[in-house]
Symmetry: C3
Subunit: 431 residues, 3 copies
């Protein structure tokens, strides 16, 4: 049950290295970019790769055609490549259909997107459900284009194929599961979401050789359609999910943001709040809203799973969001290490939370005769709290919340009292 | 179900014109003043006039004798009228018994009332349940009285007769009722309560040619004894009252004050709060207390009806309250128009509140294929909220409260989703 | 039911005089000091003295051996007494075993305790559950000791005997009890806890000749082991305890602190809060925590009795705590008188709290015809609150809380309405 955390800076460096390795790949919600990404992750953790055919009905949705791209460019009348996919995979609108031809500047313009407010950045755009094509470029690049004819070439395919996702399951003592879900569909964007992907991989690796109460399931899936596909294929077993987190944008330098599950007071919500409160960091806790990442699917009313979202700066609250500025410089090893540590602490709370019954409930037990009385011990007060509130109705997390003593101290006090025969564990579900 | 509001300034002018027409009449809790008032209101809306005989037992009370007055004055020893009912009906204490005779200044003084703090204002006083007589006058008028004998004349009658009230019932699709109650017993006071009387009349007129879910019942009744009489005679049908408002003092220039029903969290309380919160106005929401206007009767513990009170400046919190300064200048067409609009909005919330079930509750439905996906539409977010919370346990008002999106946007989103077949209405009462 | 409070300053003087009388006695958790103390208290109130043999099992604890001391000193090589029990009984660690012998300065030092931060104060220390001996002295005294041999003499006994406590039971109309518990085990410390002991004695005296709804039980017991012993011997009758207070440190000049029972919203918690809120004093209300005085035992999870703690400055939050500076100057007659008055007011709330049913619940009753209508009476508003909320679900204390009218006014209004036949008392327990 002990999830020890190794040095967080070292962990931050490891996570960063994997982000760097995955960065150049052009991912999308389907296609070889995801396969290649999962292959690399699979070197770190055992990954079960699933391929779901295009056209498969998944609830209200249909698995789309598979998209792949090899190259794309725009050449001016002098034959110079003025936009080049090889320089950045953000240049092509994700899911652009194949195209080639000579077109006028006027026509080209209707296929170009840039950000006048950030003239050096390339925006990231997608066209999953509308069959069209286009290019993204920096505003300065756009301004440098002169009138005349342009040659356009998009060497992509959009055909029946598969949607690909990876699943890493780490069995614990019980079938009760903790779900970690992270989207793996964005191309060269570091924070959104290689930070989540890489952190999830190292969390899975970290806990895989520890004794676990819960089973853990890590999903590396395309956003929206991937989560919907997974939920549809696993709808009969989601009841095992007792706690869950969506990991997105966990590497930027902003403060940690936890967004509560739709339930609002699920144990995962309380465990995350507890860990953040005990940390010295600045942080933010947000109520659930039906917008954001895949918590939208896990918390849809038919499922209403206890799944929160763990991020740093909330999506779309930083200008670099969905632009080429979300690059390898935008994420920090320190933030990644800290994120890793906090997530590990949340797991520790969930693993360690128990409800006990004080077996000596009439007056206080005499701690002195059991060698547990030491007024200057920091555990002394924690022991009194655990004894007084262990009436079968308060879990250790409840007691930590009520006492404002750290969960870890409460957990240690409970261990001492349990060893002394003063506490009995309430079987889970009795509470 | 759509209650469209016409231009509020024009409405304010109409309401004001009726106040002006009703202002000169000397009303009381019984008598011809009320009859004459109801007759004028009856030109705007269909009004059912009830006459309840004096002596009728109504719960713990008895309908009093009917009071009427034709004239009253005090003349000094030179025969000059120093107090004259024809100049202001506030000069005679309401319900003064008939009197005539010559009395000394000393004796007269024991029957005179004025306001030294506001030397130009005439106070408004009543003596419903004590058979006596008296005059009100301005402090300056009082100071000008010299010693000597005075001739007093009060040409009133206090005899068995009737208590009169008017009722306007506008049937809707259901028997469930919204009650609007306003007191009609005060003489020449504009804000208290011709503002409530006239606003209620125009609200009734406004909605009477609209398609309504609820039936609406407007009561134009004497304060206290009127409400008690009405409740006594209708005790078996009050269960149809699902929401209610007492309207008093709605024309002054102060901010709107909503006083909650005794239940504290009735739908009317939440609808009023919602409307005021969405308005840009400054406003105040007060908890229930067992003092005030006829909400005292509707919210007595035996009834405990969901009836709140809608006012502007709270009664007795403005110095003009119950004085001749509560005149036609004290009310403003703008305030009246705004009050009208807010009340209409409250009706719209009550009419439009529904609980739905999302028929595609597992993951989000694909809005795009239904033409409902448009990221820049203000309805997009509202649709996500409605879909996520339409689990049969949250009404649209709940969702508006939770999302802080306006009720109107939530209602519009629900309409779009309902048309698209994504929502099913929960039958009322199932919630 | 009326507990009238006599002049609080006079009461403060009486309470102080008893503190002064009890101050010199060397008390401990057992022994003649407690017996002598109870004998003096017994001159004021009827006290049932209980003697419980050493070795008696009380829940998880065992009644200890009885400790008595006659004399103790340390002499230097010149035969001068450098530490003398006769000068202050704090000089000997409470429960020190008998000892006599000549020892070196080095060895002596390991048995000496002082407070460098407060060089003139003698600390108070105990060694109840470890058989050892020692002396406490001021830091200045300690600094004046020179090297050399010292003669130590402790004329104490620690042998099988008894634990002694006193109980004063004042029967009321019902068997339902209010428990007042105060620890009587500290030697010459004025605030902790002769203030509690003496205040409890005078409270018992004060109410003993009044008509009481509740029975009152005052316990004068050794801290911790005394409370445990009492609870063990009375475990079958604690269900009669409906409300309770632990009284400690009630004489210092700090503000009153009320610590809530473990239940957090027990009637005693609400009554105490109500009284403090209505007083003009600065005060503090604390949540329950499983540390402190004998509320730890009364609120242990097996009992969970509705027992709060009434103190002035919280224990250990004043530097004089557990030192010779907690002397007769540290307590004030004014504070004692005020404490007495507040406690008496809390009793008044508990005695006077009732739940009524309004017998005229449909609309307001006509107060005028019963002579209860007087708009300028302060009771008028209280009457409306009592009538409106007397639906069998709100007690007078609930109504006082909701209205922010003083409990006393609410109680008086209820009396008037009850006399007028408008209210019926709900039998206790029906609520």
């Amino acid at each position: 049950m002990v999830l020890n955390c190794s040095d967080s800076d070292a962990k931050g460096n490891e996570i960063y290295a994997l982000i760097k390795e995955l960065f150049p790949i052009c991912r999308s919600i389907t296609g070889n970019g995801v396969r290649q990404t999962l292959e690399i992750i699979g070197k770190h953790i055992p990954l079960d790769i699933q391929e779901v055919p295009s056209g498969t009905k998944v609830f209200d949705w249909t698995v789309p055609k598979e998209w792949n791209i090899r190259d794309a460019w725009v050449k001016d009348s002098h034959g110079r490549k003025v936009i080049d996919f090889q320089k950045s995979n953000l240049h092509v609108i994700n899911y652009s259909i194949p195209f080639q031809g000579r077109i006028s500047m006027a026509e080209l313009k209707s296929h170009l997107f840039c950000l006048p407010d950030h003239p050096d950045w390339i925006p990231y755009k997608t066209t999953y459900y509308e069959e069209t094509w286009g290019f993204c470029l920096s505003h300065n690049q756009f301004l440098s284009l002169s009138d005349g004819e342009y040659q356009v070439f998009i060497d992509s395919t959009l055909t029946d194929g598969h949607l690909t996702y990876g699943e890493c399951f780490i069995p614990g003592k019980t079938k009760d599961e903790i779900l970690i879900s992270t989207h793996v569909c964005h191309p060269s964007l570091a924070n959104d979401n290689l930070s989540g992907v890489s952190t999830a991989a190292f969390l899975a690796k970290h806990i895989s050789n520890q004794e676990l109460r819960y089973s853990y399931r890590f999903l590396f899936i395309p956003g929206t359609i991937g989560a919907i596909t997974w939920l549809c294929r696993n709808r009969d077993s989601v009841a095992w999910i007792k706690h869950g987190l969506v990991l997105t944008g966990v590497g930027d330098r902003g403060r940690i943001t936890y967004k509560k599950s739709r339930r609002g007071n699920a144990e995962i919500d309380r465990a995350a709040s507890q860990v953040l409160r005990q940390s010295a960091d600045n942080y933010s806790i947000e109520d659930f809203s039906p917008y954001g990442y895949d918590e939208r699917q896990y918390c849809s009313p038919g499922f209403n799973l206890p799944v929160g979202r763990f991020s740093r700066t909330s999506y779309a609250r930083y200008p670099e969001y969905h632009t080429s500025a979300d690059n390898l410089d935008f994420v920090s090893t320190r933030s990644l290490g800290e994120t890793f540590e906090r997530l590990n602490s949340i797991f520790r709370v969930l693993e360690g939370d128990q409800t006990y019954i004080n077996l000596v409930p009439y007056c206080e037990p005499q701690l002195g005769k059991r060698g547990l009385y030491n007024q200057i011990s920091p555990n002394q007060m924690a022991m009194l709290w655990v004894l007084n509130y262990s009436d079968g109705r308060h879990s250790l997390l409840d007691i930590a919340e009520g006492s404002t003593i750290s969960f870890q101290s409460i957990r240690e006090a409970a261990d001492l009292l349990h060893q002394a025969g003063l506490l009995k564990e309430v079987s889970p579900g009795t509470k």
